[in-house]
């Protein structure tokens, strides 16, 4: 089996992630923050250690501002819906995933917000910044955008956008679903107010745990309410972070696995991972473009994701044929139809290779042989 779908979820996982998740289920079986017996405390300590590691890794500066969520989508919903008021104007890029777009569309209906997208494809940082500045108005309160695309390897100049937003009093939320564990992130230095990321993609942990990191001066309304283990007599969620935003029981094994994955990524080094993925991109591009009828999108931007098509074979059929040969790729629109429009893919979308640290050049040879022999 050859797995090129790491942009959807990483596979295999880091050995430390599997081990830590399993160990957690065997030894830390209590409910964190629900009592003070030994098993509950062990679970709480495991979770706090993961908050500390993530805070250091992401430049958050405070472990209590790491909030665990179900996934990135949930974290983005918390941030977007917690920051936007009736009548606000919001900016996002043309490459956004539905995890950003659908909450914004819902807010258009529910709160009458206005929404503008800024172009990115084919533009340099200066042009992107000019396009953002041209769209800012009196009522612009939030800019939400991805760090790296899920359908190509384009990334946005997050530090420049963060500085612009801070200078103009605009809140800045970032979708790091495809960049966490692939590209460096420093929330303070990049002046990000809210950062959403998954545990199960680039950080190589299990599914079931996402993260919302909040900047120092930012608070949000609660997204859901319920048991928090503290302040039980109060009718409201506690004021203290992160409990304010973590109603209900946390997925301790998934969080322990995320900590294991993070330790693997940290020991390997982001620069090594980034370099490996760029090399795979360039090698894959060379192989695919050597075959008649194939096209690679955003071919000049190497990175962890490569999008391609065949002129005569629909992308879903391409993926099906590859699957028959034991090669996993994802085809279609990848929950990012506007991004596909921006790249100019056909109505059926395209096939995507999502590289990871465990992929090899030999696997690319197998991909090339399979594509070459397609009926």
């Amino acid at each position: 089996m050859i797995y090129f779908d790491n942009a959807a979820t990483s596979f295999p996982k880091a050995p430390q992630a599997t081990r830590e998740a399993l160990l957690c289920m065997l030894t830390n079986g209590g409910n964190p923050g629900r009592g003070a017996h030994k098993l509950s405390l062990r679970a709480a300590e495991k979770i706090f250690a993961c908050r500390e590691d993530l805070s250091d890794f992401l430049g958050v500066g405070a472990p209590e501002r790491i909030i665990f969520t179900q996934n990135t989508t949930y974290a983005l919903n918390m941030a977007i819906k917690g920051l936007v008021k009736t009548g606000d104007h919001v900016l996002c890029s043309e490459l956004e995933h539905n995890a950003v777009m659908r909450p914004l569309y819902a807010l258009q209906k529910e709160k009458g917000i206005t929404l503008d997208t800024f172009p990115v494809i084919g533009l340099g940082d200066e042009q992107i910044m000019e396009n953002i500045a041209a769209r800012v108005g009196q009522s612009t309160t939030l800019l939400v955008c991805l760090h790296a695309s899920n359908i190509c390897s384009v990334s946005l100049p997050i530090a420049k956008i963060g500085a612009f937003c801070r200078a103009h009093g605009i809140r800045f939320a970032v979708d790091a679903a495809q960049s966490a564990g692939h590209l460096p992130i420093d929330m303070c230095a990049m002046q990000i107010d809210a950062l959403a990321l998954p545990g199960h993609k680039g950080l190589l942990g299990p599914a079931g745990c996402g993260v919302l990191a909040l900047g120092e001066d930012l608070s949000l309304g609660t997204f859901i309410e319920g048991g928090s283990g503290v302040d039980s007599r109060s009718n409201e969620m506690p004021a203290a972070f992160p409990e304010r935003f973590e109603a209900g029981t946390l997925p301790t094994p998934a969080i322990a696995g995320l900590a294991g994955g993070l330790s693997f990524v940290t020991s390997f080094g982001l620069s090594t991972i980034e370099k490996h993925e760029k090399e795979l991109f360039l090698a894959a591009r060379e192989r695919i473009e050597s075959l008649a009828g194939f096209e690679v999108y955003q071919r000049e931007t190497p990175g962890g994701v490569l999008l391609f098509n065949h002129t005569a074979i629909p992308s879903t059929e391409l993926a099906r044929q590859l699957d028959k040969a034991g090669i996993c790729v994802r085809a279609g629109l990848h929950c990012a139809p506007r991004a596909h429009d921006a790249l100019g893919t056909p109505a059926g979308g395209a096939a995507r290779l999502g590289f990871g640290i465990f992929n090899t050049h030999r696997e690319l040879d197998a991909l090339w042989r399979t594509l070459k022999d397609l009926p």
Partner: protein, 85 residues
């Protein structure tokens, strides 16, 4: 260094609130060489229901309070008490 299972009978409980805050406080105290245990506060000790805190020996109370202040951990109250040995 005082070991957690050898805490003298007179102790101080720093009431913090959240479990995250209590674990953070415990780590700050341990880093300063002060043994501390995370404990659940009795609901009747707080106005708002369940809460957590850290308990340490009264003998190191001044150092512990200074450490928690430096770590910017909000303590709602300090409760000194005799712990049955």
């Amino acid at each position: 260094m005082y070991y957690a299972n050898h805490i003298p009978s007179r102790t101080v409980l720093a009431a913090i609130g959240s479990m995250t805050g209590a674990v953070k406080a415990q780590r700050a105290l341990l880093a300063a060489g002060i043994a501390a245990e995370v404990v659940a506060l009795a609901p009747e000790q707080t106005r708002r229901g369940c809460a957590y805190g850290v308990e340490f020996s009264a003998a190191v109370s001044a150092d512990a309070r200074a450490t928690l202040r430096t770590a910017r951990i909000a303590v709602s109250q300090y409760i000194e008490k005799d712990t049955p040995s």
